[in-house]
């Protein structure tokens, strides 16, 4: 028989150890289907590691992939801290990308130091505004934000498709549904020559530090934590609960919007409807894996990104589907959720006298 006994305060070392153990456990579990696919485990993981870390190109590719994940991960983490369940980072990412393209393809002209901030701001604002609706509906009418934010994803994606087929379609695009390219002055500069890695990564890292500072050191952060941990007590203590939710919603949406800005203005250069392979949803996994810690989000995003990039590379070498990456990521999430149990409870295995007797 298994018994659960609640634990007292959780040590920091344990909070760090749990996601690491979960990640390792996910890799071990994922080895089982790899064996069935006829792969040698060490060779396969070796190929994955090489694909993510084996060369400067591989490494920068992995960092490029981690960039949007850090931002969507932060979007989820900051919202979940306040118990505002924003599942709509995917839609907010597209809204951010759409706004960035709208501003960056000729709406404004000028030097980089004006255009880049304008594009970034437009993206953040668009993402934030998308999240404003669900937040207001939640605070004023009690509408469940899980439903509204999730469904908004599809509405926004369809809206983007409509814009790309219509008013924003690139006349020079040979009929493909894609936007005009972003002006060179509005694009985020590359970090290294001949690599795809761009300033979006710096933006993501700064955002992570910023969110950490906000939550830890500021009055707003204090209020976010209080509302998230016990909204009733926060309201009773005079904390403006509605305003806090709105702030968190705007911030969360803006962070997801920035992920979209990075992808169009840093990486692709133009907007298509397949800009994101689910970065918004993976952001939720990143946030959970990080235990909602804004610094942890960076490491979790690096882990998830290396799995994705590594699995792509391994799949090219071995012919095994790169869906394996999704499998590992899903396993990691499940392992983290299970290990949350170990954080909160002491697990004891008890052999009871009477059950033994009954067996005899």
């Amino acid at each position: 028989m298994i018994r659960f006994e609640p634990r007292g305060p959780v040590a920091v070392s344990r909070m760090v150890a749990v996601p690491v153990i979960a990640a390792v456990a996910a890799l071990i579990l994922a080895a089982v289907p790899m064996l069935f696919a006829g792969l040698s485990i060490f060779e396969a993981y070796g190929l994955m590691a090489k694909g993510a870390f084996g060369s400067m190109f591989a490494f920068t590719e992995m960092l490029t992939r981690a960039t949007p994940l850090i931002l969507t991960g932060l979007a989820a983490a900051v919202a979940f801290r306040a118990k505002l369940w924003n599942i709509g980072a995917e839609g907010q990412l597209y809204a951010g990308a759409l706004a960035a393209v709208a501003v960056g393809t000729g709406f404004l002209s000028g030097p980089s130091y004006i255009l880049i901030p304008a594009v970034v701001l437009a993206g953040a604002l668009a993402g934030g505004l998308v999240m404003l609706g669900p937040t207001l509906l939640k605070t004023k009418l009690g509408v469940d934000e899980v439903v509204t934010t999730l469904l908004l994803n599809f509405i926004i994606l369809l809206f983007v498709q409509m814009m790309l087929e219509g008013p924003m379609k690139d006349p020079m695009g040979m009929g493909w549904p894609q936007s005009e390219p972003i002006l060179d002055e509005a694009a985020l500069p590359k970090l290294m020559a001949r690599m795809r890695i761009h300033w979006g990564l710096v933006m993501a890292l700064v955002a992570s530090l910023g969110v950490y500072f906000l939550l830890k050191r500021t009055v707003w952060g204090f209020e976010i934590r209080a509302v998230g941990e016990n909204a009733a007590a926060a309201r009773h203590a005079g904390i403006p609960v509605t305003a806090t939710f709105i702030r968190v919603g705007l911030l969360s949406g803006a962070l997801a919007g920035l992920a979209g800005v990075g992808e169009v203005a840093g990486l692709k250069g133009y907007l298509t409807a397949d800009l994101s392979p689910g970065f918004g949803y993976s952001g939720i996994v990143v946030a959970m894996l990080a235990g909602l810690s804004p610094i942890g989000v960076v490491f979790a995003a690096l882990f998830i990104a290396s799995i994705f990039v590594g699995a792509d590379s391994m799949s090219r070498a071995t012919g095994v589907s790169n869906y394996l990456a999704d499998l590992i990521v899903a396993m990691a999430l499940l392992c983290v959720l299970v290990s949350g149990l170990f954080l909160r409870f002491k697990i004891r295995f008890v052999g009871t006298a009477s059950t033994k007797e009954a067996a005899e």
């Binding site: 028989m1 018994r3 006994e5 007292g8 305060p9 050191r217 500021t218 009055v219 707003w220 952060g221 204090f222 209020e223 934590r225 209080a226 941990e229 016990n230 009733a232 007590a233 926060a234 309201r235 009773h236 203590a237 005079g238 904390i239 403006p240 004891r348 008890v350 009871t352 006298a353 009477s354």
Partner: protein, 515 residues
């Protein structure tokens, strides 16, 4: 109280129970015996190990040493499988927890049947169950409408369901954890009358308490725990309150006394306030609090006290009528306004509304004033100042915690209440609203709360004391008003009132016409 026959067989024995949590010994070698038809009071302060002991008995915890023996139907004592609530239920042990374990969205009947029927049964056997429960209710006097949703029932009714749940499962030992902590005097009396009836039919009963009066009035035997050890086990007959209190606390105690005071100016006035609908509605409330007085609000639980507290706390605004503090209109005030104008609020449910459990003691002490310059500058928190203030308050209010950085949820109920008292009273508010301030607290913590309220009155604050404990109200209040079904009677000087009159008014007989 009549004792059960001396030769009644034992139904339960806890033998040398020891339970440690880390360095803390919650129970040290505790031995307890319970006879058939006996009512045993388990007395002790918060943290004395009463609840831990009962949780071991019921299988929520496993004892590190010692064992539980229980007499099964028609047999002698035998070992109870440790760590299994299921085994405890099988053996006829029923437990009524302090915090009820009912599914709010199900009916009373569903709650009682929950877990008693096999999964394989296609249809729930309602009719026989209903019959058995009706019989039980007739015999025990526990009456509940079986078809009402639990969420619509009062606390007293919920407790009756919990007891019925145990009896329905043929409990032969009933354990109640602080059963009167949430009840009114009348409800408590009814409860104990029921328990006596049940014990006369052979049920062994253990009730946990720290209220001396009820222990003396309603138990055959009393066991006193202090610091996890049993310090006394004696027949209740011949015990007096002082003796038990000193056994429980471990030293002599002094009672708080209210010195005659001088009420001053009109301070806080509610004029014809109505709000809400249904059970919790308030109708046409007139309330007039003067400075330097404690105004007690008596009433049976669920007659609108919660709504009154919410109104004064700024969590609800009047639909009709006006509220003023020193001529300042408060009709649209929120919690923030109330704090800023000097109205301190001590919430009824301190765990739910009083503290953010995951945040530290120091953060909880600062939460009401987090935007004040002493706690922040340019929106940045001033940790050093917050910590320093916390250390000062921890000392001044004797808050027992490891440090100002430990999460508030790790503190005991009494210490959590001290956090609330410290942060609200420290700013020297003009008005103090204390809603059930001593509910669930032990003797020491209660007397601390009382002293703080009297001190606030002493320095000229007006105190509104909402309580269901008549002793507390009569000891502290200068005037007492009674709330019944959302109507508040006029307040009268405590000296002109007695328990009987108040009891009648609480039941809604007379006194309603006063204004």
């Amino acid at each position: 109280m009549a004792l059960p026959p001396g030769d009644a067989p034992l139904v339960l024995k806890l033998d040398g129970i020891t339970k440690r949590f880390g360095a803390l010994t919650a129970n040290g070698d505790v031995t307890l015996e319970l006879k058939q038809g006996e009512i045993l009071a388990l007395l002790g302060e918060n943290g004395a190990g009463k609840t831990t002991l009962m949780n071991i008995l019921f299988g929520h915890y496993v004892a590190d040493e010692g064992k539980v023996l229980v007499a099964r139907e028609g047999q002698g004592l035998s070992d109870l499988e440790p760590g299994s609530p299921h085994a405890a239920l099988e053996a006829g042990i029923g437990m009524v927890h302090q915090h009820f374990t009912l599914a709010e969205n199900l009916s009373a009947l569903d709650n009682i049947l929950l877990g008693t029927e096999p999964l394989s049964a296609l249809k729930s056997a309602r009719a026989p169950a209903r019959q058995k429960l009706t019989d039980l209710m007739d015999r025990s006097g526990l009456s509940v409408n079986l078809d009402t949703r639990v969420s619509q029932l009062s606390v007293g009714e919920k407790q009756r369901i919990e007891i019925l749940k145990a009896l329905y499962r043929d409990a032969r030992v009933l354990v109640l954890d602080e059963p009167t902590a949430v009840l009114t005097p009348q409800e408590s009396e009814t409860l104990f009358a029921t328990l006596k009836k049940l014990s006369a039919e052979g049920l062994g009963i253990i009730f946990i308490s720290h209220k001396l009066a009820e222990v003396i009035a309603s138990s055959h035997r009393v066991a006193v725990l202090r610091g996890g050890r049993k310090v006394a086990d004696l027949p209740t007959e011949g015990c007096d309150q002082r003796q038990l209190a000193e056994l429980m606390v471990g030293h002599e105690i002094t009672e708080t006394v209210r010195e005659p005071g001088q009420a001053g100016e009109h301070l806080f006035v509610m004029n014809g306030v109505s709000v809400g609908q249904g059970r919790e509605a308030l109708h046409d409330i007139y309330l007039d609090l003067k400075s330097g007085e404690i105004l007690g609000i008596a009433g049976v639980s669920g007659n609108g006290q919660a709504m009154l507290a919410r109104l004064i706390s700024g969590l609800e605004t009047p639909a009709k009528g006006t509220m003023t503090l020193e001529n300042l209109n408060l009709d649209h005030a929120n919690a923030r306004t109330m704090i800023d104008i000097g109205l301190a609020r001590i919430p009824e449910d301190r765990h739910h509304d009083g503290i953010v459990g995951a945040m530290s003691v120091s953060e909880n002490l600062a939460i009401e004033s987090i935007r004040k310059p002493e706690n922040q500058r340019y929106g940045l928190l001033r940790f050093a100042a917050m910590r320093e203030r916390a250390r000062r308050l921890i000392k001044a209010y004797d808050i027992r915690c490891q440090s100002e950085d430990s999460p508030a949820r790790l503190l005991s109920g009494g210490n959590i209440q001290k956090i609330v008292l410290a942060r609200t009273l420290e700013t020297e508010p003009k008005v103090v609203l204390a809603a059930q301030p001593s509910r669930g607290l032990d003797v020491g913590a209660t007397s601390d709360v009382h002293k703080r309220l009297l001190a606030a009155r002493e320095r000229g604050a007006g105190v509104i004391l909402i309580s269901e404990d008549l002793d507390e109200l009569m000891r502290l209040s200068d005037r007492i008003a009674v709330i019944h079904r959302g109507h508040l009677s006029g307040a009268e000087p405590t000296e002109t009132l007695d328990r009987g009159t108040l009891g009648l008014r609480m039941a809604g007989h007379a006194g309603k016409d006063a204004a």
